[in-house]
Symmetry: C2
Subunit: 134 residues, 2 copies
């Protein structure tokens, strides 16, 4: 039930970009160095973030990546839900059909409530909030 490095690294990636929001396009290489994460791995993690339009990219010399929205408008919950593929703790929350017991399972509801509590907290924190904390 631990968070994967995908969402943890992804959040740090986004936070690093938020920190340099006004500096124009940033090289992934720079972020990788600052955060101590492999560039190659970040290149994978950034893909869904770009698809979901959280990040815009420019190729070529002077290229790089920029947040598509100001840090105030991006929550940690969004990032985690994106990179963990959904905001649930169990598969059957989203797809009831993966388990025949879904309709009568008393535990299923608890997992949904727990996930909701968790994401309510995560959704209440923006990248800007995180920056202000430091």
């Amino acid at each position: 039930m631990k968070l994967s490095t995908r969402s943890r690294y992804g959040t740090r990636l986004m936070l690093d970009m938020a920190e340099h929001y006004d500096d124009g396009p940033i090289h992934l290489m720079k972020i990788a160095q600052r955060q101590g994460i492999s560039v190659k791995y970040l290149e994978q993690i950034i893909i869904p973030l770009k698809k979901a339009q959280y990040i815009k990219s420019l190729r070529g010399p002077k290229g790089g990546h920029v947040l598509a929205k100001p840090p105030e408008e991006i929550t940690v919950g969004e990032i985690v839900a994106l990179l963990e593929e959904g905001d649930s703790l169990v598969e059957c929350s989203q797809n009831a059909e993966v388990c025949e017991r879904s309709s009568v399972c008393p535990t299923r509801q608890v997992w949904r409530e727990a996930a909701a509590a968790m994401f309510a907290k995560l959704d209440s924190v923006t990248l800007a909030d995180l920056l202000n904390r430091t």
Copy 2:
């Protein structure tokens, strides 16, 4: 970030035992059949639950397993924390030394808050509550 089958099966195991709390020692085999889970796998999952004194067992003929406490006194949060090895979402919540950035990491605090919100919900639900819901 999904819950493992350990905590999910473990919770169903405990709930099944709660349901038959007054029937004396229950065979794992029975629970396995009712819940559609392999006996051998349940035998593994039950070990930490016994060590943590949630379950008492009797060997030999007429043996079986019983809850060591009434269902009102066992929360889902306890079971999950036990079987997921801790009530945190990231390793560094418990052991700061696994990451040199722990002391200054702005995301670490968020993961702690999210885990706290999640377990507050899980801790508020007892096995008895779950039984009453059905």
